[in-house]
């Protein structure tokens, strides 16, 4: 190896602490703007991909962004609800497949997504283990939920009450896990999927209780006539749906009025999509119909603007860092004055000394470049999920 490079390398190794600080500073200088840019670009691509994959979204006439974020990424901010009837209306047009979504509830921090089996086909979700839900009360969990909670098939997860003092209506339902999905790198990894009717049970719109006509119901019966039986407060309500008690679960009221957060409409073709949009514009079908990719484009424009400011800030910080590094470097050379003099006396040329000095910077720079590349690759690998995790609850 070239003598100057050898001396430069040994110098750096000997002054580990100083070298490490230089390495870290320069790495950060390179890594932060690159990572910011890549992370935003990759996340934008992933967000856009999911939005573009979702042709049409139906919701209440309110904030379009909230509707899209909630329906696509299960964001905690919920749009106003729409009636279940809207699902049938879309279905009856024959123009699109309608997939219901009800994302009001959560379980251990994960959003509970009430939907139907078509959702899994639509999102090309595959099972890593188990099966899709077959009964009310069964659930399928995303890969991240399984991993972070350490739960799987055979375990159960309980829905969270909406407020601490949730005395009426929303009560915890114990849901049995029957399937775990494969990892997708999307918001589906962090969700708990149930039949939409299960979310109505959680909401208290449906419930199961001991059969009032049975002999054992005696204490719970307040009054009985030929036509009807009235229960008192001691009636035992089930907080878990099992094969044994599932027949006792029922809904009160007309399910067409029951709530949904949104409906994904998958038109048969472009013409059907246009016709369907027309129906909404005419008012033939109530609610609003949005194109998620367009709504997201607006959001992303803001994100890119913010990104540019961040990068500008980072560049200014980098310039300051460069100034400090230069100062440190110059001071270091001053301190080595004697060493350089000795080398010259022993026969080292000016170019030898220059190479020695340059190699110090060169090795650190190359090391930083390598480290920054590895870190950037790592960020790129996990950036999408990391940023997307901020989109969900």
């Amino acid at each position: 190896m070239n003598g100057a490079l050898f001396l430069g390398w040994r110098y750096l190794i000997h002054h580990r602490f100083k070298t490490a600080i230089l390495l870290a500073s320069i790495t950060l200088m390179m890594f932060l703007p690159a990572a910011t840019r890549l992370m935003v670009a990759d996340s934008a691509t992933a967000l856009t991909a999911r939005a573009e994959h979702t042709p049409l979204l139906v919701g209440a006439k309110a904030s379009q962004l909230e509707l899209v974020l909630n329906a696509l990424y299960f964001h905690a901010e919920r749009p106003p609800e729409i009636p279940n009837q809207l699902l049938d209306e879309i279905h009856q047009t024959g123009l699109a497949i309608a997939i219901p979504l009800n994302t009001r509830f959560h379980a251990r921090g994960a959003p509970i997504v009430g939907t139907n089996l078509e959702y899994f086909t639509f999102r090309s979700l595959k099972l890593a283990d188990g099966r899709l839900m077959g009964l009310l009360g069964e659930c399928v969990i995303g890969a991240n939920v399984a991993r972070t909670q350490g739960i799987g098939i055979g375990d159960s997860i309980v829905s969270s009450p909406e407020t601490v003092f949730d005395l009426a209506g929303v009560y915890p339902l114990k849901m049995n896990i029957v399937g775990v999905l494969e990892h997708t790198g999307s918001a589906d990894d962090d969700a708990v999927f149930v039949d939409v009717r299960t979310t109505w049970v959680i909401q208290g719109l449906g419930h199961g209780h001991q059969d009032l006509e049975s002999a054992t119901a005696g204490k719970a019966v307040l009054s009985r006539t030929d036509a009807s039986i009235t229960a008192n407060a001691s009636l035992v309500q089930y907080n878990e749906i099992t094969t044994e008690n599932v027949r006792e679960f029922h809904f009160h009221g007309d399910t067409s009025g029951f709530p949904l957060s949104a409906v994904i409409a998958v038109p048969a073709d472009e013409k059907s999509g246009t016709l369907l949009r027309g129906r909404f514009q005419e008012g033939t079908v109530s609610g609003q119909l949005v194109i998620p990719s367009l709504v997201l484009a607006d959001l992303l424009e803001t994100v890119f603007t913010v990104q540019n400011y961040v990068i500008l800030g980072l560049i200014m910080l980098s310039l300051a860092t460069v100034a400090v590094i230069t100062l440190v470097f110059l001071l270091s050379q001053q301190l080595r004055h004697g060493e350089f003099f000795t080398l010259k006396r022993m026969g080292a040329s000016r170019s030898f000394i220059a190479t020695l000095v340059a190699s110090e910077l060169g090795f650190v720079f190359l090391g930083s470049l390598l480290l920054a590349s590895v870190l950037t690759w790592g960020v790129r690998r996990y950036a999408t999920e990391f940023l997307l995790s901020f989109m969900t609850f």
């Binding site: 139907n116 899709l132 077959g134 009964l135 009310l136 029957v178 599932v246 027949r247």
Partner: protein, 306 residues
């Protein structure tokens, strides 16, 4: 994947005689579409129409398939089928709590909604270990009216033709053969019940509405189970009912207890077993059972002297 489905369905099926639903050994080729029926008559009709072109399955169910409460695994297996042949008319109460793909369901009475009959709520109840249930809404034993059964079979044929279009010719010719047999059955039953004239009948359970409606039978129904002795109150109520509705014949889903039979005889009521065959018969198929029912009916009516 198909092989797994077929094996899973095979495990659901009862393995008995040749006419029984296929057991594990007789699942032949993978690659055929899989269709599951929700009760025995539909299973039978589907198999007759489908022939060898489709694997037809029927879950192993204890008791009346109308009371079936599928487990999650059962529902999971249903999801994997290519088509579910359902009776409709509220027969499959389990639809309310199972998750199934929308496109999978073929409601065989969807086209004949106008011909469905409402249930009148009978007041005589029995508490029993089999569990309480009440009959409300629409009557669903539609296959007991052969003409409705033909319509159901027609819907099945159309559904199977959409599933396997290249076999639609086969399905149609099989349907025609089935239709002919059902029409013959209808004529025989019509003739038999015509001999009864206006005589009132009793039914042990309100599941014969379509039979009554088709053949103009004046009938009243109790809510009795074949394997349970009615209580004193029930007998008193029955006696009162008999006074209003002087039936000499009581139709049962299965043979009642000997003590019940004797007591009924003592009240001047003979027992006729007319099996609705909602579930797989112990022997024979839909037609052999209905023909047996017909035989019992004509024998008893013959004894009564018309």
């Amino acid at each position: 994947m198909r092989k797994t489905i077929l094996i899973a369905i095979a495990l659901l099926l009862v393995a008995c005689t040749d006419n029984e639903p296929a057991g594990v050994d007789s699942i032949s080729s993978p690659g055929k579409p899989v269709v599951i029926a929700s009760n025995y008559p539909l299973y039978f009709f589907t198999r007759e129409i489908a022939g060898e072109a489709i694997e037809v399955g029927f879950p192993t169910i204890e008791g009346d398939p109308a009371m079936w409460a599928p487990s999650g695994e059962d529902a999971g297996n249903l999801q994997k089928a290519d088509l579910l042949i359902l009776n409709g008319a509220g027969y499959e109460s389990w639809l309310a709590f199972t998750t199934l793909p929308d496109g999978l369901i073929l409601d065989t009475t969807a086209e004949v909604q106008a011909l469905l009959l409402p249930i009148e709520n009978e007041t005589v109840h029995q508490h029993g270990p089999a569990g309480e249930h009440s009959h409300q809404g629409t009557a669903f034993t539609t296959w007991l009216d052969p003409r409705l059964a033909i319509e159901q079979a027609r819907t099945i044929m159309q559904g199977l033709s959409r599933l396997v279009p290249e076999q639609s010719g086969l399905f149609e010719s099989n349907f025609k053969a089935l239709k002919q047999r059902l029409t013959q059955l209808d004529q025989s039953l019509e003739q038999a019940f015509a001999e009864m004239g206006e005589k009132p009948l009793m039914f042990s359970h309100p599941v014969y509405q379509y039979l009554q409606h088709r053949y103009g039978i004046k009938g009243r129904s109790t809510h009795w189970e074949p394997d349970i002795e009615p209580g004193t109150r029930e007998w008193i109520d029955f006696g009162n009912l008999l006074r209003q509705h002087p039936a000499r014949l009581m139709i049962w889903e299965e043979a009642p207890l000997d003590s019940v039979r004797e007591k009924l005889l003592g009240m001047g009521v003979e027992v006729l077993v007319f099996r609705p065959t909602g579930n797989t018969p112990e022997s024979g198929d839909y037609f052999t059972v209905m023909e047996r029912n017909l035989f019992e009916l004509t024998s008893l009516l013959g004894e009564d002297g018309g």
